[in-house]
Amino acid sequence: MVWPPSVRGLLVTEGVRGEGGVLRNSEGKRFMFDDIPDNYKTQTADTPEEGWRYVTGDKNARRPPELLTRDHVARCIRREVKAGRGSPHGGVFLDIAWIKEKIPNAPEHIKRKLPSMYHQFKQLADIDITVEPMEIGPTTHYMMGGVKVDPDTQMSTVPGLFAAGECGAGLHGANRLGGNSLSDLIVFGQRAGEYAAKYAKENSSGSINNDEVDAIARWSLEPFERDAKENPFDIQHKLQDMMQDLVGIVRVEEEMKKALDGLEALKERTKKAGVSGNREYNPGWHTALDLDNLMTVSEAVTRAAIERKESRGAQFRDDYPTKDPEYGKFNIIVQKKADGSMEIVRQPLGPVREDLQQIIEENK
């Protein structure tokens, strides 16, 4: 959603397009037909008519271009907005109401198939999606990178620390496809739990270094004791704005380097983040503690994005707009050096199992 301002960024499910929703610009044009990537041409509908047959279950029809990968749809929307063909609030129009031309009882059908979307727009934006189009724009989709884990056990490189879901890395390649997050959680959440339990049974509890515990406890309480207090929420908002602006949908090296400088400045401010009040349910304090992690993640994202001098999946670089097969041969690993700074390592990918490779070839 792009309007009203306070719900900007709220999710509008891909299901709207799956049910036949189309994207239009301010001229009423269905612009997704204008730019279909070559490698998707054979899988994409030629006409709106064929697209409609696809969403209504015709196995012989190809999918409408609105259902192309999210990164591509996001860039097309951005292009329309930049060309001055956007909606009044800086997005484009997503229209599901039009299906009334195709089926009887369209409003009931929409309410039944997309109940939460109907509800969300009605209540938060005074828009009846069975009658008028929604205004939408691209937002943060998913974190494809994350904690490096063993694919079978989900254990990280820290023995006994397991990760599953969006915080783990690797499963979704360069772009997660719709619906795959839930399957990821169900399969790998269970595995993480299983192997964590196994690990706990097979290993005795490690020794605890009390000095380290004391140090982290002291560090945690520092925000209460600082005199010159920076507002932690303010730092967080600045970080969000900067990352959106400089390491967003379309990236260029120069801007990302600016972001690295910006991060250094924000890290200095983070050291002064201060809070007041008590230690129970204190969101200001929690935000102050989160800031360190937010800075780490932002820096890792930025450094890895600079390192990847190509466009692949969700990463689109204006200065390297095409996919480079060389970059498909390794993963980019961010690790901590002895002095605490970040180091980028290219880790070659192992061979893909033959049967899996075959599936990939079949789907090309």
Partner: protein, 249 residues
């Protein structure tokens, strides 16, 4: 846009006080947005639970001008900004801090309820077949997001604190979803009558009114359960038969 003043209950389990915060508002804001702005600008230690900001997680339940609501789904445009907007924690549960209450009683109640017990698969492919009509009936109950606004508004819990004898509207909805499930074979009627206190509900429909998912709690869940209990335990003929046969009471 106009300024808004929030009058928020601040305190812990023992004591607290009302505090007023005035801040700028923007187009289309919901109450939770204003709370976040107050938090960022004036009261960083203001405790409030929230998560999705889309009416789906059920975390930001509070009482807005005395009415149990989700703060994320309450738009400023439907409230008067002429006077302060009061915000206080749910009254039916113990307070922890500011707008945060301890709702764990609800999870304890849920643990006690008999779970789904499907009949053996009886379709050729080793699964089941259900009529769409039967699916639709329970689908409504499954919209529940467990915000516990219905529990909060219910006088049996709110005013009479019958937490030990009454499971509340949320769990009648849950029970109804199981009892009316076309595959379920469990029998929960004796529990409803004796342990769950379905008789305490006197159908004032306050729960239905506050449900952010629009579930017709009283009419579609509680009343049919009451009818089933009455039919089993209070039908004079059946009752007489049971007395002689020594069945469940």
């Amino acid at each position: 846009m106009a300024k808004a003043t929030l009058r928020i209950w601040r305190g812990d389990a023992e004591k607290g006080e009302w505090k007023e915060y005035t801040t700028e508002t923007d187009d289309g804001m919901v109450v939770l947005d204003v709370v976040h702005r107050v938090q960022a600008e004036q009261a960083p230690d203001l405790a409030v639970r929230w998560n999705c900001k889309a009416g789906k997680c059920g975390s930001c339940s509070a009482e807005v001008n005395g009415v149990p609501r989700l703060m994320c789904m309450t738009r400023l445009s439907e409230l008067s900004l002429e006077q302060p907007i009061t915000l206080e924690p749910l009254a039916a549960f113990p307070r922890i801090r500011d707008l945060v209450t301890d709702v764990s009683w609800n999870y304890e109640v849920k643990q006690k309820l008999k779970p789904f017990k499907p009949r053996k698969p009886d379709a050729k492919d080793g699964t089941w077949r259900m009529d769409q009509q039967d699916v639709d009936r329970v689908q409504e109950f499954r919209k529940c997001i467990e915000c516990f606004l219905c529990q909060d508004v219910c006088h049996v819990l709110r005013d009479h604190s019958k937490h030990k004898e009454f499971i509340g509207p949320r769990f009648f909805v849950h029970t109804a979803a199981l009892e009316m499930h076309p595959l379920d074979t469990e029998d929960r009627l004796a529990d409803l009558k004796n342990r769950d206190g379905v008789g305490f509900c006197n159908i004032t429909k306050c729960c239905t009114r506050v449900c952010p998912e629009g579930i017709t709690i009283t009419d579609n869940a509680i009343i049919p359960l009451k009818e089933r209990v009455v039919d089993r335990f209070y039908d004079p003929l059946k009752r007489m038969f049971r007395v002689f046969a020594g069945g469940e009471r």
